[in-house]
C-alpha cells in the first residue's frame, strides 16, 4: 500500500513537465478566448518547432554534462550562410552549408572543451560573441537574400504537408530518430555514462573526450538546421536572429527534467519544456502583459527551473 503510493508519487513527479504545460494551457484558455483559435495554435506549433530543434541538440550536450550558450549565434550564422549559398548554388547546397557551418561551430566548441578541458560556460560564452561577430562581418549587418531565394525554400517556410507545416515535421521526425540514437544505441548509453560520471566512464574504456565533443557537434548542427528553418520562415537570413535562443533552449531542457550536472534527460520531455516556454510567451502576449515584464517573467522561470533542478538532485 505504502509502496504503491510512493511509486505513484514518483510517476507523478516524472510527469510534472506535462502537467505544468496542461495547467498553463488551461489557465490561458480560460483567461482569453484567442488562445484556442486555430491561427494562434498554429503559431505556437511553428514557433516551438524551431526552438525544439535547438533544444534537442542542447539536451545531448546537457546529458553529457556540458552546456552551450552559442546556439543562438550559431542559428543566425547558419541562416545567413544558407541564404548566401542558396542564392548562388541552389536549395540543397544552401541547406547543407547552413547545417555544416553549425556543425563546425559545434566541433570547435567540442574540441576546446573536451581536449583542452576549458570550462564549457566560458568557451561557449566566448563562442556566442565570436560567432555573432562573424555573422555581422559576413553580412555587413544587412539581411541576406531578400530576393533570389529559391521558391521551394520560401514554400518550405510557409506551406503545409498533410495539414501540418513543413517546419513542424522537422522536429517530429528528429525526435523519433534522435530518441532512438540516445536510448537504443551503444553511443547513447555512452553519452549518459559520460555525463553521469566522466571518470568512471573513462575507466570503463569509454572515449569520453570523443563523446563530449560529439555532443557539441550534434548541438551545433541542430542549431544550424534551426537557423535554416528560421531563415525559411523569415524569408531571409537575418544577422540579428536567434538572440536569447540559448537561454530559452537551456530553460526548456531543464524544465523537461534533465539534470544540469549531467547523466539524466529525455528528448520528449525537452519538447514539453519547449512548449512550456513558448506557450508562456504566447499567453503573456495575449494577456497584453508589458514586454518588459515578459522579460522579467521569462528570466524568473529560467532561474526557477535551475533551482528546481538543484532541489531535485538533493533527493
Amino acid at each position: 500500500m505504502k509502496v504503491s503510493l510512493k511509486l505513484d508519487r514518483q510517476r507523478l513527479a516524472g510527469q510534472a513537465p506535462l502537467l505544468t504545460l496542461l495547467l498553463l494551457c488551461l489557465v490561458t484558455a480560460l483567461m482569453t478566448d484567442r488562445f484556442l483559435s486555430p491561427l494562434n495554435l498554429t503559431n505556437i506549433l511553428v514557433q516551438s518547432s524551431i526552438m525544439a530543434v535547438i533544444a534537442m541538440g542542447m539536451t545531448f550536450v546537457i546529458i553529457a554534462g556540458g552546456f552551450d550558450l552559442s546556439v543562438g549565434s550559431t542559428a543566425a550564422l547558419s541562416g545567413c550562410i544558407a541564404a548566401m549559398v542558396m542564392v548562388k548554388a541552389g536549395l540543397l547546397a544552401g541547406v547543407g552549408a547552413g547545417v555544416a557551418a553549425g556543425a563546425a561551430v559545434g566541433l570547435a566548441n567540442g574540441l576546446i572543451i573536451a581536449k583542452l578541458d576549458v570550462n564549457p560556460f566560458i568557451t561557449t560564452l566566448g563562442m556566442m560573441v565570436l560567432v555573432r561577430g562573424i555573422v555581422f562581418l559576413l553580412t555587413g549587418g544587412a539581411p541576406v537574400g531578400d530576393e533570389g531565394l529559391p521558391g521551394a525554400f520560401l514554400a518550405f517556410g510557409s506551406s503545409r504537408f498533410l495539414g501540418v507545416h513543413y517546419l513542424v515535421w522537422v522536429p517530429a521526425i528528429l525526435l523519433a530518430a534522435l530518441s532512438w540514437l540516445l536510448h537504443a544505441t551503444p553511443y547513447g548509453r555512452r553519452v549518459f555514462a559520460t555525463g553521469g560520471g566522466r571518470e568512471a566512464a573513462y575507466l570503463s574504456g569509454v572515449r569520453v573526450e570523443r563523446i563530449i565533443a560529439s555532443t557539441y557537434v550534434w548541438c551545433g548542427a541542430l542549431a544550424g538546421l534551426a537557423g535554416v528553418m528560421l531563415a525559411a520562415r523569415l524569408q531571409s537570413g537575418q544577422p540579428t536572429a536567434g538572440e536569447f535562443y540559448e537561454l530559452t533552449a537551456i530553460a526548456a531542457v531543464v524544465l523537461g527534467g534533465a539534470a544540469l550536472h549531467g547523466g539524466e534527460g529525455t528528448l520528449y520531455k525537452t519538447i514539453i519544456g519547449v512548449f512550456i516556454m513558448i506557450v508562456l510567451g504566447n499567453s503573456l502576449n495575449l494577456l497584453n502583459v508589458d514586454s518588459y515584464w515578459q522579460r522579467v517573467a521569462v528570466g524568473a522561470v529560467i532561474i526557477a527551473a535551475a533551482a528546481a533542478d538543484r532541489i531535485r538532485s538533493r533527493h
Partner: protein, 501 residues
C-alpha cells in the same frame, strides 16, 4: 564472554561524556537503529564496529546532531539534550572527524585551524583585521599539543592525508572538543602513520578526551579500544571490555557466524597473460590462473604500477598481453586488450547515477551491438546471470548504483569486467572499507576468476589480505620491485620486512 559486566557501584562512576539510550531511527521502510544504547566516558576509547548497513553511521550522525532519533534520548554528562544540528553538537564539545576531512585545501594550516573563529585586531573597536601573529601562535600551540609540528603557513593541500587528519584533530581540540568521533581514521594510512595516530589518541585519552573509534580493522580495535560495541542489523550485538574480546569474537558477533580462513589452493599456472614492459627482469608478470599481489607502503607506487598497466600514465605504456606487445595510451586501449581495472575509489568504478544494468554493460556495449542498436534482451540476460553469480543484492538491475552498499557496489564493478570477459583484472585496494562478509565473497570471486584461467594483480596496503589471497607477491619500494615472494614463503612478517615497513 561478551556481556557488559558492571561490578563498580554506579555512584562512583562519573556520568558518561555522551550517551545514547534506547535510540531508534527509521528511514522510510528501513530500520537503521532499534533500541540501541551506547555511551563513552571521559578518558575512554570506545570502538564501534559492525558490517556495512549495521547502523554505525546512523548512530554517529545522531551523536553528531545530523539526525534526530525517532525514540530514545541523547544525554551529555548525564543531562538529556536535543542536538538539532552539527552546530549544536560542536557547541556541546562533540566533534566528528569524517573519512573525507572537512578542511579547505587552498588555505594554510593555521587558517584552517582558525576557520570560523578568527583572531582579529580591532580598528576603532570594530574587528576588521585578521591577527596573523596570533593566528600562527595559536595554531602552533594547538599542533604541538598533539606532538605534530608542520609549518603553520603551509597550504593544507601540500600535506599528506595523515598530516591533514592530524590538522583536523588539532582543529577539533581547539574547539574544546570533549568527545571525538573518528570514522575509519586509518583507512588511508600506512603503518608508521597509524602508530603516530594511535600515539596521539592515547595522549588525548590521558588528558580526558572521550573517543569513539569506528573501524573495519578489527586488529586495531583489539589493540586500541578500552571497550568495544558491535552493531548488527541496527541492534547492539555485543559490548565488551578490553581483554575480553578477540578479533575472531568480533567477526562472530558482527556476522553471527565465523568466517573460515581462506587458503588459496595450488592451481596449475597457465601462460603469461600480462607482462609489464617498463620493468626489467621477470618480476612484474602474471600467468593465467595466478593472483599476483603488489605490496608496499603508501606512496610506494603500487597504484602507479596498476595505473600504468591500465594505460593511465602520462605517457603511453607498453605491455605484453598474451605474448603480443601493446601500446596503452588510454584505458580504452587496455579494455580492448582484455584488461579490466577495479579502482580504489568506488565512485571511479561506477557511474553512480546510472542503473546497475547500465554500469555492468558499459564496457561491453560494442559486443552487444546488433545492426546499429543495442541488443537489450541479450544485455538483460547477461546482467541477470552475473547478478546471480556474484550474489548482488538486491537483485534489481534498474536500481541506481549509488543506492547499493559498498560491498555490492564492488561486486557490480567486478561484474562489469566479467561481462566483458577480460583476461586480466587489476585490483586497487579491492576491499577497502568493505565489511568482513563482503570481503570474503570478493576474495572468493577473485580466486574463482583466476581458477577459470584469468590473471589477477592486486595492490593492497592490507598485508594480511595479500597473504590470504595471492599466489605470489611483488614487494615495491619507491615504485621499484625489490623482491618477488612465492606462496611457500609468503607471510605478513616476510612482506613487512621486504617493503621496509
Amino acid at each position: 564472554m561478551m556481556a557488559e559486566a558492571s561490578t563498580v557501584p554506579a555512584a562512583v562512576v562519573p556520568a558518561p561524556a555522551v550517551s545514547a539510550s534506547h535510540v531508534a531511527k527509521r528511514f522510510g521502510a528501513t530500520t537503521a537503529l532499534d533500541d540501541v544504547s551506547f555511551n563513552v566516558t571521559a578518558g575512554e576509547i570506545h570502538a564501534l564496529v559492525g558490517e556495512n548497513g549495521a547502523g554505525k553511521s546512523t548512530l554517529m550522525r545522531i551523536l553528531d546532531g545530523v539526525h534526530r532519533p525517532d525514540a530514545g534520548t541523547v544525554a551529555i554528562d548525564g543531562i538529556p539534550c536535543r542536538l538539532a544540528s552539527p552546530r549544536d553538537a560542536i557547541a556541546a564539545g562533540i566533534v566528528m572527524i569524517p573519512q573525507e576531512l572537512r578542511l579547505v585545501p587552498a588555505l594554510s594550516v593555521a587558517e584552517n585551524l582558525a576557520l570560523g573563529d578568527w583572531p582579529t585586531r580591532r580598528l576603532l573597536g570594530v574587528p576588521i583585521f585578521v591577527d596573523r601573529a596570533r593566528l600562527r601562535a595559536e595554531a602552533g600551540r594547538a599542533l604541538s599539543d598533539i606532538g605534530f609540528a608542520p609549518d603553520p603557513d603551509r597550504r593544507v593541500d601540500s600535506l599528506g592525508f595523515a598530516e591533514r587528519q592530524l590538522v583536523a584533530i588539532a582543529k577539533a581540540l581547539r574547539r574544546r572538543c570533549r568527545v571525538l568521533i573518528l570514522d575509519e581514521p586509518t583507512a588511508a594510512l600506512e603503518k608508521r602513520e597509524i602508530d603516530r595516530l594511535f600515539g596521539v589518541l592515547q595522549g588525548l585519552k590521558s588528558q580526558g578526551t572521550a573517543i569513539i573509534y569506528v573501524s573495519h580493522r578489527l586488529d586495531e580495535v583489539v589493540a586500541l579500544a578500552d571497550r568495544c560495541t558491535v552493531l548488527r542489523d541496527g541492534r547492539v550485538a555485543a559490548t565488551a571490555r578490553r581483554g575480553a574480546f578477540s578479533a575472531d569474537d568480533l567477526v562472530h558477533a558482527m556476522t553471527g557466524r565465523a568466517i573460515a580462513a581462506h587458503e588459496p589452493p595450488d592451481m596449475p599456472r597457465g601462460d603469461v597473460v600480462l607482462e609489464d614492459g617498463a620493468t626489467l627482469a621477470d618480476t612484474m608478470r602474471v600467468h593465467g590462473g595466478e593472483v599476483l599481489g603488489l605490496a608496499g607502503l603508501l606512496g610506494s607506487g603500487a597504484d602507479r604500477v596498476l595505473r600504468r598497466l591500465f594505460g593511465l600514465s602520462e605517457r603511453p605504456s607498453v605491455v605484453r598481453v598474451n605474448g603480443t606487445t601493446r601500446r596503452l595510451a588510454t584505458p580504452a586501449c587496455a579494455v580492448a586488450a582484455g584488461i579490466g581495472m577495479v579502482p580504489a575509489e568506488r565512485r571511479l568504478g561506477l557511474v553512480m547515477s546510472q542503473s546497475v544494468r547500465d554500469n555492468i554493460l558499459l564496457p561491453s556495449l560494442e559486443r552487444l551491438r546488433r545492426g546499429g542498436r543495442l541488443d537489450r534482451a541479450a544485455g538483460a540476460r547477461l546482467v541477470a546471470g552475473l547478478m546471480d553469480l556474484l550474489d548482488i543484492r538486491p537483485r534489481r538491475p534498474d536500481m541506481k548504483a549509488a543506492a547499493l552498499s559498498g560491498g555490492n557496489q564492488q561486486k557490480v564493478i567486478l561484474a562489469k569486467w566479467l561481462a566483458r570477459a577480460v583476461g586480466v583484472l587489476l585490483l586497487d585496494e579491492p576491499t577497502q572499507g568493505i565489511d568482513v562478509a563482503a570481503k570474503a565473497q570478493i576474495h572468493a570471486l577473485v580466486r574463482d576468476f583466476a581458477r577459470r584461467g584469468g590473471g589477477v594483480i592486486v595492490g593492497s596496503s592490507d598485508l594480511a589480505e595479500l597473504v590470504r589471497l595471492c599466489d605470489s607477491v611483488v614487494a615495491l619500494r619507491r615504485g621499484t620491485p625489490v623482491a618477488r615472494i612465492e606462496r611457500s614463503d609468503l607471510s605478513e612478517t616476510r612482506l613487512r620486512t621486504a617493503i621496509g615497513g
